[in-house]
């Protein structure tokens, strides 16, 4: 019973909820983060001004991403997704500010090794060989899997986390990986 009370209390709307802006943008909601990553890749390749964001509270389930897009482009975007075999669960207007992904990076130099952290994910590389020597942090089940696939490979030969990851932790690792490449690759 105590759990239920806490749960209901948390569901109550917060007093500091932001006002709704005009809905000139919408969000694409997908079954899983893998589909979001594929859709993002495809839509960006075709030049659509989209952004990956956090879903509004009413549709948050746990490990979610959505794609924010200009509503004016809705039909064109849906056609591109259909052609790629990607089927959003829902396409809805944005009525409140969406959560922004983390954009701060932290780097630590261990001498022969460089570690970069984005949100809760850390990736470490040997500065001379550019070999990925460790991946740490995170809490979603693809983190150990990503570590198995990336550790021991160089930055040039390792698969990008976004190609084989499925969760927000995988997406955060992609950001850390990109920052590491920016710092280490010519």
């Amino acid at each position: 019973m105590s759990s239920m009370l806490r749960f209901l209390k948390k569901l109550a709307p917060r007093k500091d909820a932001a006002p709704s802006p005009a809905p000139d943008r919408g969000i694409l909601v997908f079954e899983n983060t893998s589909d979001v990553i594929q859709a993002e890749k495809r839509l960006k390749a075709h030049g659509f001004p989209i952004a990956v964001k956090g879903p509004p509270p009413e549709i948050q389930k746990g490990c979610d991403l959505v794609i924010e897009f200009p509503l004016m482009e809705k039909l064109s975007i849906e056609r591109h997704l259909e052609a790629a075999g990607l089927h959003p669960l829902a396409v809805v207007p944005v009525t409140a500010p969406l959560l922004e992904p983390v954009s701060l990076f932290y780097a630590k130099d261990f001498g022969s090794y460089l570690m970069v952290r984005a949100a809760n994910m850390k990736i470490t590389v040997n500065k001379e060989s550019l070999r990925i020597v460790n991946i740490s942090g995170g809490g979603c089940p693809d983190v150990p899997y990503l570590a198995d696939r990336l550790v021991g490979k160089t930055l040039n030969e390792a698969p990008q986390p976004k190609e084989i990851g499925h969760t927000l932790c995988g997406y955060a690792l992609q950001l850390a990986y990109e920052e590491l490449c920016r710092r280490c690759l010519p």
């Binding site: 105590s2 759990s3 239920m4 806490r6 749960f7 209390k9 948390k10 569901l11 917060r14 899983n32 956090g54 509270p57 948050q60 389930k61 746990g62 490990c63 979610d64 959560l99 922004e100 992904p101 983390v102 954009s103 701060l104 932290y106 630590k108 261990f110 090794y113 570690m115 952290r117 949100a119 809760n120 994910m121 850390k122 470490t124 040997n126 020597v133 460790n134 991946i135 740490s136 942090g137 995170g138 809490g139 979603c140 089940p141 693809d142 983190v143 150990p144 899997y145 990503l146 570590a147 198995d148 550790v151 990851g165 499925h166 969760t167 927000l168 932790c169 995988g170 997406y171 955060a172």
Partner: protein
């Protein structure tokens, strides 16, 4: 008895339950041999290493294969929600599971319906789900790193990926982050915030810090946070007071680094053999030093 609940990065592993042992550098349970990779296998291995040393408890694991698609996690969630009444544990550690608020709540309701409530520890994906569901205060101990602590402190963030920028991921802010998380009921009674300095908090206030010994490479090694949580779970299951267990676990994990002397390229499986001696060093430092010459 200690229960360890989580996933293994092997999609072919079905739901597997049983008492765990360490043998030949691998985790063995129910006839299955699992490599000690970062994540729940590392946590379980550390817990077994402590349990074997103390000879006071056993480690029972609930494992399933999942590489991030969530299917394995859902199988495990469902099993727990339906079958927990058939088990009795002193401590339950929830770890790498796909965060899912609905399933988290079903499992928590099943736990709270048990005749004897175990001590509840959560880390990784299950901790994210616990916070997002608004149920963090139903747990006894969380073991976040600094990035995850910032997430707990941001009442709007459903995942560390969305922690707002003004909630700084800075070790110097830990007391403030702890107080903020507690004020929003997004933290349990005890926290072990893992980092360059480990901070241990009770009821929203930092009550202890553990800074020594320092082995900097430990931060880069995937799974060193998992080993700390595993050590903590086993200490609690052995009957140690939770606050004392938090201090001892943090200190023991640091001694693992000191004794194993890893580089940033060391893998977590190489650290597990150092755990018994590290625990001895913490619990009985004079005898440990004499034995070491």
């Amino acid at each position: 008895m200690l229960a360890v609940i989580g996933t293994v990065p092997d999609p072919s592993l079905p739901l597997t339950t049983g008492t765990a042992q360490l043998k030949d550098g691998r985790l063995h349970t129910a006839g299955v041999s699992i490599p000690i990779t970062r994540g729940t296998p590392a946590l379980a291995a550390a817990a077994v290493a402590v349990a074997e040393r103390l000879s006071r408890t056993e480690v029972f694991v609930f494992l399933v294969g999942d590489v991030g698609r969530g299917g394995g996690s859902r199988v495990l969630y469902q099993f727990l929600a339906e079958n927990l009444p058939g088990f009795s544990f002193d401590v339950m550690v929830f770890h790498y599971l796909q965060p899912d608020v609905d399933w988290h709540n079903k499992v928590l309701f099943a736990v709270e319906a048990l005749p004897r409530r175990p001590l509840l520890i959560a880390d990784a994906g299950f901790m994210y789900a616990a916070k997002m569901s608004g149920q963090a205060s139903a747990y006894d101990i969380f073991t976040p790193d600094i990035g995850e602590m910032a997430f707990l402190a941001d009442e709007r963030a459903p995942h560390p990926f969305y922690t707002r920028g003004f909630v700084l991921h800075d070790t110097r802010n830990v007391p403030e982050l702890v107080a903020r998380a507690y004020a929003h009921e997004d933290a349990p009674r005890w926290l072990v915030v893992k980092g360059e300095t480990d901070h241990i908090a009770e009821a929203g206030r930092v009550v202890a810090t553990v800074r020594e010994p320092v082995w900097e490479a430990m931060e880069a090694i995937g799974g060193t946070g998992d080993t700390l949580t595993g050590i903590l779970g086993a200490l609690c299951a052995s009957g140690k007071d939770p606050l004392d267990a938090c201090r001892t676990a943090a200190l023991t994990n640091r001694w693992v680094g000191r004794l194993a002397r890893p580089t940033p390229a060391t893998q977590v499986a190489e650290l597990i053999p150092a755990i018994p001696d590290a625990l001895e060093q913490v619990q009985n430092p004079v005898l440990a030093e004499e034995a070491g010459g």
